[in-house]
């Protein structure tokens, strides 16, 4: 099946009534989650993951993916209207978007943001079809050494690109790898760090860890800061249309943002956030009137908003084609695959084409739904901000608790949730980004398995592993990304 035949097949899967409904629920929840500061898409996906057990694999994954890219739309709404980014990826949008709102152009900013996101989502789907399929074919040639190098490089790049210092990221990576070793060892079944507990033999579940670090920790921070209910101004529907000049100024930034976002999404790290900053910087650099940026330049909204949606599509490529998630959100999607007995990666396209193509096609359907929903219903979504924060926080905590318990009917998962919630709060106090911990927790077992298989293959020769062409290239890329900033600083100090 060629890429475009596959996409047509995927639309046949995505447009079934149950999958359309799942996509709708996902993007709706994603938009609401994006509007609300606090619980982000990762926490929401983790909360809803148990509810996908009863669904068909494609249906459950379509819903979860919908939450991921839907939250990008929601985050921009509050950035523009109230200067409160609902998502980290919408921080940049607030710079010029809120200025436009103050000038009475909120509707235009929202419209350009929605259209830009839709265009980027569509470009992203095309990118997945072309690059994802090609990458999956190449990955069939990967052996254990290549997969090991890919996981190591991914963690190195993530450590450099995550918020905070490399030292802090390394600490989180180490903790994530360590947690991943708890339970039955993957090759021989030997029990490690279980202290005689049968429950610990199953290992530490990913979902309660994520719910704790992103959901519970966020609520603890909100409790500390004091709960406030936001004041929101109205947007008149008649103001929604941008002028012809605004469309003209937005079109190239949207095109550039789509590509920048998709490419950034391929890279490990906080892709959606990075993509928006790269896009904003690029637009300001190439603009003939850069002094307008920060005062309500529509290019400063169009480019970043396209970029963050493009990045969500780009992030799906390593997950679907290689089976490797490079962010917490795609790590949750990997968890969903595993729960349904599926393994994403090069064989997914051939063995379960309805899942692969169904998810890809549903991203286009979901982006179309978001474009249609977000503009007329912007007032409804924004009114969610008026809900009392203390009530939302309490109910979210209750959902986290019952959701974590429902995974395995185990008190251990509850203790993991609470423990990581408190740990996540401590990390917030230290301004340490926990995302490397999540990615390392997911990649750790794969890293161990491929390392041991590689050592078996080469009879213990590490040199034979690292000198394989692709392995060497990947490790060099990772080392370069890690070493580049300090080397650049040293060179600058030397040149007069």
């Amino acid at each position: 099946m060629g890429p475009f035949e596959g996409l047509a097949f995927g639309f046949g899967i995505a447009l079934t009534p149950v999958n359309v409904l799942a996509c709708f629920v996902g993007v709706l929840i994603g938009t609401i989650v994006g509007v609300l500061p606090g619980i982000g898409p990762v926490g929401a996906m983790a909360l809803l993951l148990p509810s996908t057990f009863a669904l068909d694999p494609a249906t459950g994954l379509i819903m979860l993916a919908g939450i991921y890219y839907g939250s990008m739309y929601g985050g921009s709404t509050t950035s523009i209207l109230v200067n409160v980014p609902g998502e980290a990826a919408s921080v940049v949008t607030a710079i010029d978007g809120y200025q436009m709102a103050k000038q009475g152009r909120a509707g235009a900013a929202l419209a350009v943001s929605a259209v830009g996101s839709f265009v980027a989502g569509s470009v992203g789907v095309l990118g997945i079809v072309l690059l994802g399929v090609w990458l999956a074919e190449q990955a069939l040639r990967f052996g254990p050494p290549e997969y090991f190098a890919l996981t190591v490089t991914g963690l190195m790049v993530l450590s450099r690109l995550s918020g905070g210092s490399v030292l802090q990221s390394f600490l989180m990576v180490g903790i994530g790898l360590a947690i991943g070793t708890v339970g039955m060892e993957p090759i021989s079944g030997f029990r490690r760090f279980t202290f005689g507990s049968v429950q610990l033999s199953q290992g530490i579940e990913l979902v309660p860890v994520i719910m704790g670090l992103y959901g519970v920790a966020e609520i603890l921070v909100l409790a500390e800061q004091g709960m406030k209910t936001g004041a929101v101004s109205k947007v008149a529907l008649r103001e929604l249309l941008p002028t012809r000049s605004e469309w003209r100024l937005s079109s190239w930034p949207i095109a550039r943002g789509s590509v920048v976002g998709f490419v950034t999404g391929l890279v490990p790290g906080p892709a959606t956030v990075l993509a928006t900053f790269i896009s904003y910087t690029l637009e300001r650099r190439i603009s003939k009137t850069p002094e307008r940026f920060g005062t309500g330049a529509i290019e400063g909204v169009a480019g970043p908003e396209a970029a963050n949606n493009g990045a969500t599509a780009g992030a799906m490529v390593p997950l679907l084609s290689l089976g490797i998630p490079f962010s917490p959100a795609t790590a949750i999607l990997l968890g969903a695959f595993v729960i349904h007995g599926l393994q994403p990666g090069p064989l997914l396209i051939s063995q379960r084409p309805e899942v692969f193509w169904g998810i890809v096609a549903s991203m286009y359907v979901g982006n179309l739904m978001l474009l249609i929903l977000n503009l007329p219903l912007v007032g409804v979504f924004v009114s969610v901000l008026r809900a009392p924060q203390h009530l939302l926080a309490t109910l979210v905590l209750l959902l986290c608790l019952v959701g974590a318990y429902s995974l395995n009917n185990s008190l251990l998962d509850l203790w993991v949730l609470v423990g990581f919630g408190i740990f996540g709060w401590v990390l917030r106090k230290l301004a340490i980004d926990p995302s490397p911990l999540i990615v390392a927790l997911v990649l750790g077992p794969l890293m161990e398995k491929t390392l041991r298989q590689a050592l078996f293959m080469t009879r213990g020769s590490v040199l034979d592993i690292v000198t394989r062409p692709l392995t060497l290239a990947l490790l060099l890329v990772g080392a370069l990304v890690l070493a580049a900033p300090p080397l650049a600083r040293a060179l600058r100090r030397r040149t007069p």
């Binding site: 030292l167 390394f170 409790a223 905590l397 608790l401 019952v402």
Partner: protein, 151 residues
């Protein structure tokens, strides 16, 4: 001070993890055993935690330095009370069952967060406990604990 304590906790935890890893069969480089990867991770973790601790004990916190966001005592008390509520829920759940634990958790937290009098807090607690029990236990067939005292 707090950040130094946390850094030392990371270091102690890393050392503990490494010590436990040595108890597993290491194997050899040609045939790595179950202890091979944990020992490698433990060594990495101890090195990183040691540097992290050194940075935390530095006087001036420059790039890579560890600082803790300052908060007032009342702010920390609010977060602490929430954490205690969570721990209390998990401890009491097997004894009093989900409906009662959820009711108590929601009511106390609403009062602690502020913004709700006792009648509103109790009313919301009843509705949320009942609704969540119905959704998870009845609709999704999750065997939520009914509690030792109620069985």
């Amino acid at each position: 001070m707090g950040e130094r304590v946390i850094a030392l906790a990371f270091l102690a935890g890393s050392g503990f993890y490494l010590a436990l890893s040595f108890a597993f069969p290491f194997g050899s480089t040609a045939r790595p055993g179950p202890g091979y990867f944990p020992v490698a991770v433990g060594v990495f973790l101890c090195l990183v935690a040691a540097v992290f601790t050194r940075v935390a004990f530095r006087r001036d916190a420059g790039a890579g330095g560890v600082t803790m966001a300052p908060t007032s005592r009342s702010a920390r008390a609010r977060a602490g009370a929430t954490a205690v509520g969570l721990v209390g829920f998990v401890l009491l759940l097997p004894w009093i069952g989900y409906p009662l634990a959820a009711f108590g958790f929601v009511a106390l937290l609403l009062r602690r967060f502020g913004g709700a009098g006792w009648p509103a807090a109790l009313g919301i607690a009843v509705v949320s406990a009942a609704l969540s029990y119905w959704v998870f236990a009845t609709l999704l067939s999750v065997p939520l604990p009914r509690g030792v005292l109620l069985e």
